[in-house]
């Protein structure tokens, strides 16, 4: 069978599907939604014996327009700020019942960095056996693109618009991973939809580690970031390759691993694809200054995490992004 035939053979394609999908097709996410892709990858890797507590946000809205639901998992949404606490309650119940079902908490960056932060910190401090996944699309997308604690410096949102007196968001993106790591939790990592195998590996590692664990998944939002919907993976990859979104793993607050960058790209390669950074390409003095700031942030990440690879790493960025489905490689 030629490669060409195989690509169009439904039976083979089905065989290549993972054994379990927690989030089915047919939901109502936008074209190219990074969060939908991330949620599918996370739930595939986590397997069927889990329960999910979901914060309010796009993921909740586009998956469960009643009476439909795209979830094949027991799933509960309560309010915006309490995904971690609801998950903690579920975990306490399962523990008391002696059941082995695992608990996941899903939230966007608003439900993680901002309104859900206190509940998240409390859940981590108390040591519940919960994997908290933050689908980080760097603004309040569900309400129509407003700035959050995760929005990068200088990005345009509808509450951080650029103008004659402003150049987008004035503040820095909150270093949520460092804050979570400071809880000395067993495992905390960043991942990206551009690196699915790396993402799945981290989900499995988190769940194997157990205890309160955290995963921050960089998930582009074509609508909010202003890029073409077929560029989601490319944009996400450039965030990693520029050093603006480093992929790192921490255990008990200590750095244990990074995904090195084979060829470091200038931040402008990443920024120019997105309308939210359009004002940084006006060519004037203010724009140049902001570009310098963003390049400095990326440079600092690369230095701090020693991300500059030599070009021959086993886990170089181009090689690690191949999609392999079925889970055999990570057994």
């Amino acid at each position: 069978m030629s490669a060409e035939t195989a690509r169009h053979d439904a039976k083979t394609l089905r065989h290549q599907q993972p054994r379990f999908r927690g989030l089915e097709a047919g939901h109502r996410a936008c074209q190219g939604c990074g969060e939908a892709l991330a949620a599918r990858l996370v739930t595939e890797a986590a397997g069927p014996d889990v329960m999910v507590a979901n914060a309010t946000g796009c993921l909740e809205v586009f998956t469960t327009p009643w009476p439909q639901s795209a979830w094949r998992l027991p799933w509960i949404h309560s309010v915006f700020g309490n995904a971690a606490a609801v998950a903690a309650g579920m975990e306490a119940a399962l523990k008391q019942q002696g059941r082995r079902t695992r608990v996941l908490a899903f939230a966007g960056d608003g439900g993680t960095f901002d309104i859900g932060f206190q509940a998240l910190s409390g859940m981590m401090e108390r040591g519940h056996d919960v994997l908290f996944v933050c689908f980080d699309n760097e603004a309040y997308m569900n309400t129509g693109v407003q700035r959050s604690g995760s929005t990068p410096h200088a990005a345009m949102t509808n509450t951080s618009p650029p103008g004659t007196a402003r150049m987008g968001k004035r503040h820095m993106k909150k270093d949520i991973l460092a804050i979570l790591a400071a809880h000395r939790i067993p495992y905390a990592a960043t991942a990206s939809v551009a690196y699915p195998s790396d993402l799945r590996k981290k989900v499995r590692r988190a769940m194997d580690t157990g205890g309160p664990v955290f995963l921050q998944v960089h998930s582009p939002c074509p609508l909010g970031w202003g890029h073409d919907s077929d560029l989601t993976v490319q944009v996400a990859r450039l965030a990693v390759q520029t050093g603006l979104f480093p992929l790192v793993e921490m255990e008990r607050g200590e750095l244990i691993g990074t995904l090195p960058i084979r060829e470091v790209r200038p931040v402008t390669d990443y920024l120019r694809l997105q309308q939210r950074f359009r004002h940084l390409f006006a060519g004037d003095f203010r724009a140049e200054k902001e570009l310098e700031h963003l390049q400095a942030i990326a440079d600092r990440n690369i230095e701090r995490f020693e991300l500059r690879g030599g070009g021959k790493e086993r886990y170089d960025t181009e090689g690690a992004d191949t999609v392999h489905r079925g889970g055999d490689r990570w057994a």
Partner: protein, 401 residues
């Protein structure tokens, strides 16, 4: 056998008898002794449960919600600011029809800060969709707590057991606690039909369009109305098991033949009953002890008001800019009577102001000879503490400043 127990300690032991699997709470006066008592029972191995001491009331309610949804009997307790902080979760719990029980150690709400008793906290979440049962004594609080788990799980509705802060929670008195066997016989194992289960995955708390929201609310409203029967039945069944009832939805006490009635919720009833017995003028009234505020027992209320000329509704909270809260609801329910009593709505005892024995005489004297309903009055207020512009007799503001 009656034991000398502080109200909170009795509640802690009663909750333990109900075998909760997850208890979650955040400290707030005057709820603390209840949760401390439960923590000690857990620490001593006398109660096997996950005790989750959270970082806020918002999370306390959320943990209880998650636990109940995942198939465990859950309990929490709070008061005042805590009730307000968890209020969005309270609405959510009720809307999802998740059965769990909370004790509200009723307390005033800031500002100004007051840690003392009134009913403002529970009234603020009146429309959250919870069952609200008010306790007139610590014995009722004990018995109502057991009943609350049964009502919640039978009706798939959360139940708030309202217990006057300090007046009940911190008062030591002889109390009958049920036996474990009695509670076990009365309370079936926890079951939540819509719970989370990987073998039968279900989505809870979804988004609904305008095509379905009204129906969801209608279902919730109907469930609360049908709970009227369940509350009465639960009380009757508990009376059969323990020998103690709490008066169902609404209890008529005092002199059932009296033409003047006083309607109250909570512990002020005992004070007024004692005052009536000791009244030097020998005045007798019909007391209406409203136990179920949500669902509101309109029909039972009309029955209880038959033959009354005058009904005084004593509120323990205030809707600023309107007046009482229980009062208008009672008036609305009595509108349908052929010969409704004249209803006077008064309030007293806000922010822990003492409710002394002479309140009885003052209430009766305030309405005596009135030829129409009195305007709403805070009967124990002292307006002279206020600047003149803030006093009730200050002139109206005629124009915007």
């Amino acid at each position: 056998m009656a034991l000398p127990l502080e109200g909170s300690q009795a509640l802690a032991r009663t909750v333990a008898l109900c075998r909760p699997q997850v208890v979650s709470a955040y400290p707030i006066t005057p709820q603390t002794h209840i949760v401390e008592g439960i923590a000690r029972l857990v620490a001593d191995g006398r109660l096997e449960c996950e005790m989750v001491s959270v970082e806020s009331e918002h999370s306390a309610a959320s943990v209880a919600l998650g636990a109940a949804a995942a198939g465990s009997r859950a309990y929490t307790a709070s008061a005042s600011q805590g009730i307000l902080l968890m209020s969005e979760v309270l609405f959510d719990i009720a809307g999802m029809r998740v059965p769990l029980v909370m004790t509200c150690a009723n307390r005033a709400v800031s500002a100004p800060l007051s840690i003392w008793n009134d009913h403002q906290d529970a009234m603020a979440v009146r429309d959250a969709g919870w069952i609200q049962l008010y306790c007139a004594s610590n014995q009722e609080a004990v018995d109502t707590t057991v009943q609350a788990f049964r009502i919640a799980e039978h009706c798939s509705l959360p139940v708030m057991v309202c217990v006057d802060g300090f007046t009940l929670t911190h008062t030591l008195e002889p109390l009958e606690l049920p036996d474990q066997d009695q509670v076990d016989a009365y309370l079936p194992a926890y079951r939540f039909a819509h719970g989370l289960n990987p073998a039968e995955p279900r989505s809870l708390g979804t988004l609904v369009s305008p095509d379905h929201f009204t129906e969801a609310r209608l279902g919730h409203h109907g469930a609360l109305q049908r709970a009227l029967g369940a509350i009465e039945a639960a009380d009757a069944d508990w009376a059969a098991v323990s020998g103690r009832g709490c008066g169902g939805l609404l209890e008529v006490r005092g002199d059932p033949q009296a033409r003047t009635g006083i309607l109250v919720m909570g512990s002020v009833l005992g004070t007024l009953e004692d005052a009536m017995d000791a009244d030097p003028k020998g005045r007798r009234v019909r007391f209406l002890k409203l136990r179920s505020f949500r669902p509101f027992p309109a029909e039972a209320l009309r029955q209880a008001c038959q033959g009354l000329d005058t009904l005084i509704v004593l509120d323990r909270a205030l809707s600023p800019g309107s007046g009482g809260i229980v009062g208008p609801e009672v008036k609305a329910a009595l509108m349908d009577m052929a010969e409704p009593p004249r209803v006077h709505n008064l309030a007293a005892g806000l922010g822990g102001r003492d409710l002394p024995l002479d309140l009885y005489g003052r209430l009766l004297e305030a309405v005596e000879g009135a030829d129409g309903p009195l305007p709403f009055t805070l009967i124990d207020a002292d307006p002279t503490q206020l600047p003149e512009a803030d006093r009730p007799d200050a002139p109206l503001m005629q124009e915007a400043p």
